[in-house]
């Protein structure tokens, strides 16, 4: 008994996931997730030689819901509540590009005040998402304070969104033609107050987390993605901007009111885990400026949504529209055959695109760097699976 062969047979009978690699067991296969506390609903298999990762195979699909198929069974309005499920923390952005595409297909003009409220909601929602991501990145690297602080500050933005939309997380706020309801009274002052507070907090985040020597050691020069490879792999969002490509849909292809705003695309050139974790903070800071400008420029009165027919439909055609979400470009390709239900909806999400970089970055890293690399990719398993 207890030759390697026997152990292998025995483990197979028990249904254990021990994979025989070679006679001397030099390579070991590890399954990360889906029960790993930090993996999310996602599993990837890695092989290690000593403590170096030599192989990585992502296995998504644990939360695949068939969103694209579901869209074909509902009309364009009924699709909104289930389309925000893939990323409930960023639900205004995932319905934003959907609404833009439907507006293009049906031919709806959004009232100006509605465009502003939409942009405010999507910027606030991006902060909620990024703070959630930052909290998990903190706890993933063993920094408990960085878990608690962003989670606490995230509540401020959730409260603002609750006042604006009526729901805390899944808002179903964007609809083709505008937004569901108007801003409440006193929203502007409350929003400005929270942003001032949050700007102070971001300085504290830098002191305790980003300037922490332990955090720096774990992330600097780790998992470097070069500019050329970033473009080749087609990554997006903060991963792309951390590698020195200043590409942001809000600037590249401004939608709604973004071409009237004054903001910079934040990027870094090093392409390591530190850059990928720092760019989201820079983005949040820029978002604060954007929200202030939006609140200053918003028309004081007016409609917030266009009148819609009961079953909105347009002529047969197709549209591809995208917005910048918390995880990068979020595009919808919608084909309409002239009926109220979409003929085909294809959702191109940042997480799915950034996943391609995971095996590329992990191979050659030490096992201890795996959490730092994995979560720096801003990967949201539920969104990638759709």
């Amino acid at each position: 008994m207890s030759s390697l062969e026997d152990k292998f047979e025995e483990s197979k009978k028990l249904g254990l996931q021990i994979v025989k690699e070679s006679e001397d067991d030099r390579l070991m296969t590890l399954s990360v997730g889906p029960q790993h506390p930090g993996s999310g609903h996602f599993r990837f298999t890695i092989k290690v030689d000593g403590d170096y990762i030599v192989y990585c195979d992502p296995d998504p699909g644990y939360v695949h819901r068939g969103e694209e198929k579901m869209c074909e069974y509902r009309n364009v309005i009924q699709n909104i509540p289930h389309l925000e499920r893939p990323v409930i923390h960023d639900s205004n952005n995932i319905t934003y590009s959907y609404s833009l595409a439907i507006e293009e297909l049906v031919g709806i003009e959004v009232p100006r005040r509605g465009q502003f409220i939409r942009a405010i909601a999507s910027e606030l929602n991006r902060q909620v998402y990024t703070l959630y991501w930052l909290a998990i990145y903190g706890i993933f690297l063993g920094h408990s304070t960085m878990f608690m602080w962003p989670m606490g500050d995230r509540e401020l933005f959730i409260d603002l969104l609750e006042a604006l939309t009526g729901a805390r997380v899944t808002h179903a706020f964007n609809i083709p033609g505008g937004v569901r309801n108007d801003m409440p009274e006193g929203f502007r002052d409350r929003c400005i107050r929270q942003i001032r507070y949050f700007e102070k907090r971001m300085k504290e985040y830098e002191d305790i987390f980003y300037n922490n020597p332990l955090f720096r050691q774990r992330t600097e020069q780790v998992g470097v993605l070069s500019k050329e490879d970033a473009a080749k792999l087609g990554v997006t969002g903060s991963v792309l901007r951390a590698s020195g490509i200043p590409y942001d849909i809000r600037k590249a292809e401004p939608y709604d009111v973004y071409n009237e705003l004054d903001f910079k695309v934040q990027y870094m050139k090093t392409g390591d885990c530190f850059a990928r974790s720092y760019v989201p903070l820079l983005d949040m800071r820029e978002s604060c400026h954007i929200i202030e400008q939006l609140l200053d420029k918003i028309p004081q009165s007016g409609e917030v949504r266009a009148k819609l027919q009961p079953n909105p439909k347009g002529p047969p055609g197709e549209a591809y529209r995208r917005v910048e979400s918390g995880r990068g470009a979020l595009g919808y390709y919608i084909v309409s055959d002239g009926t109220p239900r979409p003929y085909r909806v294809k959702i191109s999400v940042g997480s799915f695109r950034n996943l391609l970089a995971l095996p590329y970055l992990l191979v050659g890293q030490r096992l201890a760097d795996m959490p730092a690399v994995y979560w720096s990719l801003n990967y949201w398993p539920v969104e990638a699976d759709r």
Binding site: P60, G61, H64, G66, E68, K69, M70, Y73, A230, A231, K232, L233, G234, T236, L240, I245, Y247, A252, E253, E318, Y320, R322, A329, G331, Y333, V335, Y343, R344, K346, S348, F352, R353, L355, L356, D385, R386
Partner: protein
């Protein structure tokens, strides 16, 4: 090759399956489209065809940043086979794999035409084909 439509910032062209690798290489090397934002298929049972569509974008050329070029090709539903674009645009790797399982299009030259998002024991037709109906609806 024929141009299906030209709209502001969006162009859609359709090519024969045999030409797609050559056209994609031209778009990458001569036009500056360096990545695919999205790639997916649409089932058209009326024409007995499946349309594969690649939405190409550019990070390298600033003037192309807002543009999306849709490169499409069609294959028959019975024997759905297309050449892969993985050697031209690395970024289509997972999108093509997803299309394989969702629409049953086999990509010749793709290293892995296998299960990706669906459950391992999936034993039905590809779910995004129009003849797949959600049970009970």
């Amino acid at each position: 090759m024929n141009v299906v439509f030209i709209k502001p910032l969006r162009i859609k062209i359709r090519v024969e399956p045999g030409d797609i690798v050559e056209v994609a290489t031209f778009l990458r090397d001569k036009m500056g489209f360096d990545h695919a934002e999205s790639a997916g298929g649409t089932d058209y049972p009326k024409d007995n065809q499946i349309e594969m569509i690649y939405h190409l974008g550019s990070y390298g050329r600033e003037d192309l940043a807002p543009h999306i070029l849709a490169l499409t090709t069609r294959t028959s539903r019975e024997d759905a086979r297309l050449p892969t674009l993985i050697n031209v645009f690395k970024s289509v790797e997972y999108h093509e794999r997803e299309t394989f399982e969702m629409l049953g299009v086999y990509f010749e030259g793709h290293p892995r035409n296998d299960r990706f998002l669906l459950p391992e024991d999936w034993a039905d037709i590809p779910p995004l084909r129009k003849d797949f109906k959600i049970k009970g609806r």
